[in-house]
Amino acid sequence: MASTAERVRQLVAENLEVDGQAVAVPADLGVSLTEVGVSSMEFVAFAKVIVAEFDVPLTPDDCAGFSTLKDLAAHIDAQAA
């Protein structure tokens, strides 16, 4: 099964875009969605996608608050443990 990091990268690719452009996520997930320019509407939808995929509690504010996607993946792993 794919790692949490790989699944998060895939979900970003499938669900997020900025001005019609795909969001480039580095392999180490060292990017902040806020600094990418993801809108509040995108955060609301993406938080729901993460909850559905991993069955962990996550709010849009949680999602926007992580410094990087790596932190989001770590949060998911911690919740699932």
Partner: protein, 253 residues
């Protein structure tokens, strides 16, 4: 910095009770963006540089510079005296020489349009959205809208459905931003007054989701975008108490 021939990229848009709403033109313009960058302080420039895409970088820079210019005018201060801090749930507030300024403001941008709302008192929130297709629209509808609102949307088709969704979204987002606690407030519990669902552009409401507070809500949508402003109704900021004066701005930092 020397005087610049670049004209202001913001204009008065609406007066809504005690609140003044400014429209910010966010179309690509290298000259404007260079002037805007000169207004930003170092932390803001650092944030500006970190944006991955040109669009969000431009929207942040042009809106923040416009906000700085207008706050300087309103508070008769220099740009170097002005700074921004962030409240617990991320809502920014301004300080002059380290002291919080008393008036409220809020900023929103989408695509080529930005709005900045100011009011002398009372919590304030503004939201603007260009009506672009969203791949997770059904998910957003389930998450954000209440049962009555979802039922209304289900009876609406085509372009009218898109317009209704964005109208509801911006009104709820404006209320959430005014409340100041982010998505800790469940948007599906914020029921938009039925009169506004039917086309009325102004209403006041109290929501069980935010006990004890009355809000004035204005739908500012036009053909180019959906937008709304929410303003806490209180003695100092009631709709009849504002000065209604659109701020003017100096041309340079």
């Amino acid at each position: 910095m020397d005087a610049s021939p670049v004209e202001d990229w913001w204009r008065p848009f609406k007066l809504v009770g005690a609140a003044t709403v400014i429209h910010v033109d966010l179309k690509p313009d290298a000259a404007r963006e260079a002037v805007a960058l000169a207004w930003l302080d170092e932390p803001e420039r650092s944030r500006w540089r970190r944006f991955q895409f040109a669009g969000p970088r431009r929207r942040f820079g042009l809106c923040r510079a416009a906000l700085r210019a207008m706050l300087c005018r309103r508070h008769e201060c220099g740009n170097g005296q002005l700074a921004f801090e962030t409240a617990r749930h991320g809502k920014p507030f301004a300080t002059v020489d380290g002291m919080p300024v008393p008036d409220s403001f809020n900023v929103s941008h989408s695509g080529r349009h930005g709005l900045i709302a100011f009011a002398p008192a009372g919590r304030l929130g503004v939201d603007i959205e260009e009506r672009v297709a969203h791949r997770n629209l059904d998910l957003l509808v389930e998450t954000v809208l209440g049962e009555q609102e979802q039922a209304l949307l289900a009876r609406t088709r085509g372009d009218a459905r898109t317009r209704l969704f964005f109208k509801l979204w911006t009104m709820k987002e404006a209320l959430i931003k005014a409340h100041g606690k982010g998505m800790a407030l469940d948007p599906s519990r914020l029921q938009i007054p039925s009169a506004m669902l039917g086309g009325t552009t102004r209403s006041t409401l109290q929501s069980p989701a935010i006990p004890g507070v009355r809000w004035r809500l204005d739908d500012l949508s036009n053909e180019q975008f959906a937008a709304a402003v929410a303003h806490e109704v209180c003695e100092a900021s009631g709709p009849s108490r504002g000065n209604g004066k659109a701020p003017r701005t100096p041309a340079n930092p």
